[in-house]
Symmetry: C2
Subunit: 197 residues, 2 copies
């Protein structure tokens, strides 16, 4: 049973995460001051330190939240696909599209790694990557994909999608280059396919 106090605490945590997410996305982690964030949430730094241990802890919480949303969207994209192989491709495309959002870009792709270290160390990023790895392993087992190291392939696929997204986001006409990136991504990914006999 949730007591009155823990309910309140959850609310303050949620409020801080929300305002921090906003501030980190727009101003960047370094330029976002804790005083501003807490004031915006109607609190002080005391609450922040009590709940998250510090500025990095708050960023970690924001990252975890966004990451959870991303995993959910990746799963949805994969399950929408007709075949496992198409599922992998759809997952890559979904990843590209998510990385177009300024919030994802700034927090997950720029500041997050710089402040918290390599994403492969984050508990949830592993979940996201693990999904791709498992998908690829399944494709290898069923003979669709060449017998390469599944984790290595997953890493490369994700990296390609990631960079494609960064490219698109920085482009003058994002909507114009998106299809080019998606097409090149599909071609590249086809390199993993078993040569048809």
């Amino acid at each position: 049973m949730a007591t009155k106090r823990t309910q309140m605490m959850e609310m303050t945590r949620a409020k801080l995460i929300r305002t921090a997410r906003e501030a980190f996305a727009t101003k960047g982690y370094a330029a976002a001051s804790m005083d501003d964030i807490t004031a915006e949430a109607g609190l002080t730094r005391g609450a922040l330190y009590h709940n998250f241990g510090g500025k990095k802890g708050l960023l970690q919480a924001v990252v975890d939240q966004i990451d959870a949303e991303m995993v959910a969207r990746l799963m949805a994209a994969q399950q929408r696909a007709a075949s496992p192989w198409e599922g992998l491709l759809e997952e890559g495309v979904a990843y590209i599209e998510m990385a177009l959002e300024p919030e994802v870009q700034r927090i997950m792709l720029l500041d997050g790694p710089a402040v918290l270290g390599d994403p492969s160390q984050w508990p949830n990023q592993n979940a996201c990557l693990l999904r791709t790895t498992q998908t690829i392993q399944a494709l290898i087992d069923e003979g669709t994909v060449k017998p390469v190291d599944a984790e290595a392939a997953a890493r490369l696929i994700n990296g390609a999608a990631l960079n494609a997204a960064l490219w698109i986001a920085a482009a003058d006409e994002p909507r114009a280059v998106l299809p080019k990136a998606v097409e090149a991504f599909r071609q590249l990914a086809a390199g993993l396919l078993q040569a048809e006999r």
Copy 2:
């Protein structure tokens, strides 16, 4: 002809870049204080602001220096290869190997993008990427590679190599996963190859 003053100035610039490069690589950009860097170089912050305009300017200078070194190494790797296609692969492998160095990782892959913005905006990173793009375009023209968008393909290739490098660097046994990553990279890149007739 170089006057006495400009010679001195070049020396102080070089010294500051050297110590900053060291400090940024080991402690990270945020944790490296300008006082420490300048003191290590036997100077004060005055010199730093005069020559580089601020902390970001100093990082930019360090990034430019490292980037120039990387481009040189990429060119060397490509020219060592037997064929243009092998040149592209060698370039990717060289990129992976460079990203294994802590200095490159910390400064070029983590702090650089976070502080200076997306690498595609940097003047030199474009040179590095431009090389790959041109290589791919040449391969398309000669019929080795499928007719995809050359820049998109270059972006994806570089992104894959980049993430492979980050993965390797964060791994428990970097030397053990390196061959796996290289193998997967070659397979993936093969997706760009024109299907043999």
